[in-house]
Amino acid sequence: MTEIIVVTSGKGGVGKTTTSASIACGLASRGKKVAVIDFDIGLRNLDLIMGCERRVVYDFVNVINGECTLKQALIKDKRLETLFVLAASQTRDKDALTADGVERVLDELRAENFDYVLCDSPAGIEKGAHLAMYFADRAIVVVNPEVSSVRDSDRILGLLASKTKLAEGGNGRVQEHLLLTRYSPKRVASGEMMGVEDVKEILGLDVVGVVPESTDVLSASNAGTPVILNENSDVSRAYQDAVSRLLGETVPLRFVDEPKRGFFARLFGG
């Protein structure tokens, strides 16, 4: 059975595309057949993060308009056998995406026996974001521990509970997961940043992952290698844990507490 997972947040710049790329790689590295789709029509970026920008010939809108087949538009990843990318179109036409078109593509992916389809949502609550979540079975809500991100994601939770196919049909609801990114254990410890428990309490969601703030994320996007593939990075370990939890494993949270420092270090700083 194909599971459709939307990666969403409301606010921009919190790490949706980074998360989509890494979770897709993580699932594929465990043998799952995965497609990751960029829903940010007009502002294509997932291809850059995945490092396949020069291999984009056809895109999502081409498939919807019947200008090519889905097979022609799916870009096979060079690192992972079972991973495919569907790039966003660069068109400025706002109505390029249609619910019918998106559903047809998803149905075809189902028929091709994909295990997971990740929908990388654009920021905001406009059409692209709406269609990215509309057919989802599950949602990963990416949140920074910061007031505007938390508030916007609560708005997204409201939409997930009302404006999705599952919700409208009365056939249950989208399963929601919280993924915290840019988390700084040090700043949480000093009371400058809301912690996992704070955000969890406000939003009332289960936590699927906590990704620490790190310079590795920028290095990874510079190189076009999803950060989860940098095995020396804590960010990679955090995303691997998140993938395990998505697959139903119970894994304790890591990278949420600051390492304990000795008495003298605390007294004199540094």
Binding site: V147, V150, D154, G158, S190, E192, D198, L203, G269
Partner: protein
């Protein structure tokens, strides 16, 4: 954190953030799912009421409750105490 910082510690800003979010999120969740015209209805009702009584903008509360099959629009207006007292006095003088 150095020794000096220890003595001039301020209330943690994360606590402030959490408190603010708790309030705004609860408020926005309450308004969610209701029809889009509710805020406008509230404002227009307030304007009409204010023609007669000078009430506080916060004094008009509109709630929409859903039961099976029907919806109840509940409107409550808290009148300022002074006016109520004045009216009571006027009523007492009449009788």
């Amino acid at each position: 954190m150095g020794l000096l910082d220890f003595f001039r510690r301020q209330p943690p800003s994360a606590q402030v953030a959490k408190e603010r979010l708790r309030i705004i999120v609860a408020q926005e969740r309450g308004a969610r799912g209701g029809p889009d015209y509710l805020p406008l209805l509230r404002r227009e009702l307030l304007e009409v009421i204010r023609k007669y009584v000078n009430v506080d903008p916060e004094a008009v509360v509109i709630n929409l409750e859903r039961d099976q099959g029907h919806e109840v629009l509940e409107l409550s207006v808290a009148l300022p105490e002074k006016i109520q007292a004045a009216k009571a006095a006027a009523a007492a003088a009449k009788s």
